[in-house]
C-alpha cells in the first residue's frame, strides 16, 4: 500500500469567511441585495431616501437666520431659488414668544426655574438610579443658578452659597464610594433628608412661581392638608376611621374654601413676601402647553386609580358614580369640554366672576385625562390573575393594604405602556386650546403669520413646533421603555 489516500486525513485549519459574506458587505448582500426581487426595491428605496434627504438638507440649511421678513428671505434666495429653502428669521425673531407667550420679559426666569425644579422633583419619583445626595446637588444647583441670575448683592451671595453647598455635597458624593457610604450610614452617620420631601412641596411652589402673588397663598393651601391630617389623626380613634376620613376631608375643604384667603391676606399684611402677579392671559406658547400637560398628567394618575378602583367596587353608589363619570367624559370630545370651559361656564356664572380661564381649562383637561386613565388602569387590574386578590386576602391584608402592596404595583406595571401613551395623548391634546382663543404654540403660529413681515410662512413654524413636541413626547416614550425594563420581574 502506498501512503496515497483518497480521503483527507487531517483537518484543515479554519479560514476566515469570504469577504463577501461578512461585515457590511455581507449584511447588505444577505438583506438588501438577496436576488433580483430584493435588489430592485432596495435601489428604489435608496433613490427615494436620497431624494428626500437631499431636499430636506438643502431646505433646512439656508442662510436666512438673520432675515427680518419673508420678502427679505426671498431676496436672499434670489430670483431663481424661489421659496425652496427655509426662512429661519421667523424662528429667530419669535422663538422666545413661542416658548413663553406674553409672559413679562423681566419675569421669564420664573417659568424656567419652575421647569428646572420640575425635573428635580420628578427624578426621585421616576428614577431610582440617582443617589439621594445627587438629588440635593441638583436642587441646590438650580436654586443657586436662579439666585445668581437674579443678581443683586443678596442674589450673588445666596447663589454662590447654594452653588458652594451643591459643590460640597457633590464632591463628597464623588469622593466616597457607595460601599463606604453604606458603611457610614450603617454606623450611624446622618443622612440627608429624603428628596421626596421636595417633590411633595413642589406642587405648591410651581403655581406660585408661574402666577406669582403672595407666598402665603401656597402656604395656606398646603396648610389645608395639615388641617385634614390632624383632623383625621385626632378624630379617627374617637369616631371611627370612615367618619374620621369624611370629617377630615370636610375640614380641609372648609379651610380651602373659606379660610385660605383670609389667612393668606392676614399673613401678607404682617410679613409681605411675594412675586409680581402674572395674569393667566399672558401665558402662552410651550409654557402654556407644558403647564396644562404636566398638571393634567400629574393629577390624572391618582384620580384615574381612584376611579378604576371605584368602578370595581361593590358599593353601589361609588360604582355608579365612577361608571357614570368615566362613561360621560369618555363619551364627549375634549373640544366640547373646552368649549364648556370657555363659553358655557362664563354664561352660567354671575357676571363679574373672575374664574381664571386657564384654571377652567386645567380642570377640564384633567377630568378628561382621568377618565381615560381609569380605563387603562382597569385594564391592568383585569389582567391580574384572581389568585393575587385571594392571596392578599389570605395574608389577612385589609383592602387598602392589599391594593397598595399586592394589587397596584402589579396592575400599574402591566399598564405602563397604556398610561404613558395616555400621557402623550393628553400632552398633544393641549394644542386644542387654540380653538378657544388661548395662544398655545399653534395659536401663536397663527398670530405670528398675522404679522405682515411673516404672513405666508408655514413650514418653518410648524416644523419648529413639531420638533419641540417630538422632544417632549419622545422622551416620555423612552422613559416608559426604561421603566418597563426596570420593573421586569419575570425570568426571560
Amino acid at each position: 500500500m502506498s501512503d496515497l489516500s483518497y480521503v483527507r486525513s487531517e483537518i484543515l485549519p479554519e479560514r476566515a469567511p469570504p469577504a463577501s459574506s461578512v461585515g457590511v458587505v455581507g449584511w447588505a448582500r444577505a438583506n438588501l441585495f438577496n436576488g433580483i426581487g430584493n435588489s430592485i426595491p432596495t435601489i428604489l428605496a435608496l433613490i427615494f431616501i436620497w431624494y428626500v434627504v437631499s431636499f430636506l438638507v438643502s431646505w433646512v440649511f439656508s442662510p436666512t437666520w438673520s432675515s427680518e421678513s419673508l420678502n427679505q428671505c426671498r431676496e436672499i434666495f434670489g430670483a431663481d431659488g424661489g421659496h425652496s429653502a427655509a426662512c429661519w428669521g421667523v424662528i429667530r425673531e419669535r422663538w422666545v414668544q413661542l416658548l413663553f407667550g406674553f409672559y413679562p420679559e423681566a419675569e421669564r426666569w420664573r417659568p424656567v426655574v419652575a421647569f428646572g425644579l420640575l425635573f428635580v422633583a420628578l427624578i426621585p419619583v421616576l428614577f431610582n438610579m440617582i443617589s439621594r445626595r445627587m438629588n440635593w446637588v441638583l436642587l441646590l444647583a438650580v436654586l443657586g443658578l436662579a439666585a445668581l441670575y437674579l443678581g443683586g448683592v443678596l442674589g450673588v451671595i445666596l447663589g454662590l452659597a447654594l452653588l458652594g453647598a451643591a459643590g460640597f455635597i457633590g464632591f463628597k458624593a464623588f469622593s466616597t464610594s457607595k460601599e463606604d457610604r453604606a458603611a457610614q450610614i450603617a454606623s450611624g452617620a446622618k443622612r440627608l433628608p429624603n428628596p421626596l420631601i421636595f417633590s411633595a412641596i413642589f406642587p405648591f411652589i410651581a403655581p406660585w412661581l408661574l402666577w406669582g402673588g403672595s407666598i402665603w397663598m401656597p402656604i395656606a393651601a398646603a396648610l389645608g392638608f395639615v388641617v385634614g391630617f390632624f383632623a383625621f389623626r385626632f378624630l379617627a380613634p374617637v369616631v371611627g376611621s370612615l367618619a374620621g376620613l369624611i370629617i377630615a376631608v370636610v375640614a380641609a375643604l372648609i379651610w380651602w374654601l373659606f379660610l385660605t384667603t383670609g389667612f393668606a391676606g392676614l399673613m401678607q399684611s404682617i410679613i409681605p413676601v411675594g412675586l409680581e402677579h402674572v395674569e393667566s392671559r399672558n401665558f402662552g406658547g410651550f409654557m402654556l402647553s407644558t403647564t396644562i400637560g404636566v398638571v393634567a398628567i400629574a393629577c390624572s394618575l391618582p384620580i384615574g386609580i381612584v376611579l378604576a378602583l371605584g368602578r370595581q367596587s361593590d358599593l353601589l353608589i361609588v360604582k355608579a358614580l365612577c361608571v357614570g363619570f368615566i362613561e360621560f367624559i369618555r363619551g364627549v370630545p375634549l373640544i366640547t369640554l373646552l368649549f364648556v370651559a370657555s363659553t358655557l361656564l362664563n354664561i352660567f356664572m354671575p357676571p363679574g366672576t373672575n374664574f381664571d380661564i386657564i384654571l377652567r381649562v386645567l380642570i377640564m383637561v384633567t377630568l378628561f385625562a382621568s377618565a381615560y386613565m381609569a380605563e387603562v388602569i382597569r385594564g391592568g387590574l383585569a389582567a391580574l390573575p384572581r389568585g393575587q386578590y385571594e392571596a392578599a386576602d389570605a395574608l389577612g391584608l385589609d383592602y387598602w393594604k392589599a391594593q397598595r402592596l399586592i394589587i397596584m404595583p402589579q396592575a400599574l406595571k402591566i399598564s405602563i405602556p397604556g398610561i404613558v401613551s395616555t400621557f402623550i395623548g393628553v400632552f398633544k391634546d393641549t394644542v386644542l386650546v387654540s380653538i378657544i382663543g388661548l395662544l398655545d404654540p399653534l395659536g401663536l403660529s397663527n398670530a405670528i403669520r398675522a404679522d405682515q413681515a411673516w404672513n405666508g410662512i408655514v413650514w418653518e413654524l410648524y416644523g419648529f413646533i413639531a420638533l419641540m413636541f417630538f422632544v417632549f413626547c419622545f422622551s416620555m416614550s423612552r422613559y416608559s421603555m426604561y421603566l418597563e425594563r426596570r420593573l421586569r420581574t419575570d425570568h426571560r
Binding site: T343, N346, M349, G437, R449
Partner: protein, 339 residues
C-alpha cells in the same frame, strides 16, 4: 333646535349681564384697564409683534377708547378671541368691547343683544384668481373649484352669488386663512374667496403678487365695526363717539402732529374746538373729561392715519381707501357732527 337653545342661552346671559353690569365705565375705571376682544391674528387688523405688543387697525380703536377713558393708550388687556368664542366673551362680560372685524348683521345686533357702535371698515367678499386663468369677472367662474372658509358668512354669500347667477361651483372647505393660502397656491382650487381686505393681504405675501388678481366683483356687504353689549348705553356712547372723533378728526384735518397746537387754545373752527375740549362740555356729557377726544386721537392718530399706518397703500397690504374714504372724497366714512 340646538342653535335656538344656544342663542336662547346667550340671550339670557346678555340680559343678565346687561342688568347687573350696567356701569361698564365704572368697571373699566376701577380696573384701570380696558378689556378689548380682538382676533387671534389677522394681518393689518390685529397681531402681536415679537415683543407681544398688539398692533393693527382694530387694535387702534381699542387703544383710542382706552386713551379716552383711562388716559393711557397702553392700558388695554387684549383678549384674543376666535370666531366661535367672540360673542360669548362679550356677552359674559369677559371683554368690555369687541373690535374684531365683525360684520354688522341684523341677527347679531338684535338676536344676540349687541350694539354695533359704527363701522370702521367697509369690506366685501371678493375672489382671488391666478392671472393665467384668463378670467376677468366672477361670473366666468362656472364650474370652478372654490376655496372657502367653513362656518363663516362668506360660505353663505358664495352659495347665494352662484345661485343668483345660475352657475355651478365646487367648494373646497378650509379651516383657516393660512390653509386657504396654501391650498390656493398648491392649485387645489381655482379661486380663493374671502373678504377683499384678506385677499389683498394674502396676495401681498405671494412670491409673485402680479401673477394673481382680485376680481372686480364684490359679492357681499361686510361692514366691520366694534360692538358692545346691549343695556349699557352710556358705555356704548363712549365707544361710538370715540370712533366718531377719530373719523371727524380726519375730516377736519386734526392729526397726531398738529393736535398739540390745535388744542393749546381755541381756534377758528368751532367744531375742532368742541372735539378737542377747548370749547363746550361734550366730554362732560359723556362722563369723561374735556381732553378725552384729544387723547383718543393722539393714541394712534386720526382714522386716516390709522388706516395708512396699518393697511394703507404704503403697507404691504396696500389697500386703497375706496369705500373707506371720507364722505367728502366719495367714500362712506361719515361721522355725525360734534355739537
Amino acid at each position: 333646535m340646538k342653535k335656538t337653545v344656544f342663542l336662547g342661552a346667550l340671550t339670557v346671559a346678555g340680559l343678565a349681564a346687561g342688568a347687573s353690569a350696567a356701569a361698564t365705565l365704572d368697571d373699566v375705571k376701577a380696573r384701570g384697564k380696558l378689556n378689548c376682544g380682538v382676533t387671534t391674528g389677522l394681518v393689518g387688523f390685529a397681531a402681536p409683534d415679537a415683543n407681544g405688543k398688539w398692533e393693527g387697525f382694530d387694535v387702534g380703536v381699542c387703544r383710542a377708547v382706552a386713551a379716552a377713558v383711562l388716559g393711557d393708550a397702553n392700558a388695554v388687556e387684549f383678549v384674543p378671541t376666535t370666531g366661535k368664542t367672540r360673542f360669548t366673551a362679550l356677552a359674559s362680560g369677559e371683554v368690555d368691547m369687541l373690535a374684531r372685524n365683525t360684520t354688522w348683521t341684523l341677527s347679531r345686533d338684535v338676536d344676540l343683544k349687541f350694539d354695533f357702535i359704527g363701522v370702521n371698515y367697509y369690506d366685501g367678499q371678493g375672489f382671488l384668481v391666478p392671472k393665467e386663468m384668463g378670467v376677468s369677472s366672477a361670473k366666468d367662474l362656472d364650474g370652478a373649484t372654490v376655496c372657502i372658509q367653513t362656518g363663516t358668512t362668506t360660505e353663505l354669500n358664495l352659495a347665494d352669488f352662484f345661485r343668483a347667477n345660475n352657475i355651478s361651483y365646487e367648494p373646497v372647505p378650509i379651516e383657516t386663512n393660512a390653509e386657504g393660502q396654501q391650498q390656493y397656491l398648491a392649485g387645489a382650487c381655482d379661486t380663493y374667496t374671502t373678504d377683499a381686505s384678506g385677499l389683498a393681504a394674502t396676495r401681498a405675501t405671494f412670491e409673485d403678487p402680479s401673477a394673481h388678481v382680485v376680481l372686480p366683483e364684490i359679492i357681499s356687504k361686510e361692514p366691520l365695526g366694534p360692538l358692545v353689549r346691549h343695556g349699557d348705553n352710556e358705555w356704548g356712547d363712549i365707544v361710538r363717539w370715540t370712533l366718531n372723533a377719530l373719523i371727524s378728526a380726519e375730516e377736519l384735518g386734526i392729526t397726531s402732529t398738529n393736535i398739540g397746537e390745535l388744542s393749546a387754545a381755541p381756534g377758528d373752527n368751532p367744531e375742532i374746538n368742541r372735539i378737542l375740549g377747548t370749547e363746550g362740555n361734550l366730554g362732560e356729557m359723556l362722563g369723561l373729561d374735556a381732553d378725552w377726544a384729544k387723547r383718543a386721537i393722539m393714541a394712534g392718530g386720526n382714522y386716516g392715519e390709522l388706516f395708512a399706518k396699518n393697511i394703507g397703500e404704503s403697507t404691504p397690504i396696500a389697500l386703497s381707501r375706496g369705500l373707506n374714504a371720507q364722505w367728502k372724497d366719495g367714500g362712506l366714512i361719515y361721522s355725525p357732527p360734534f355739537r
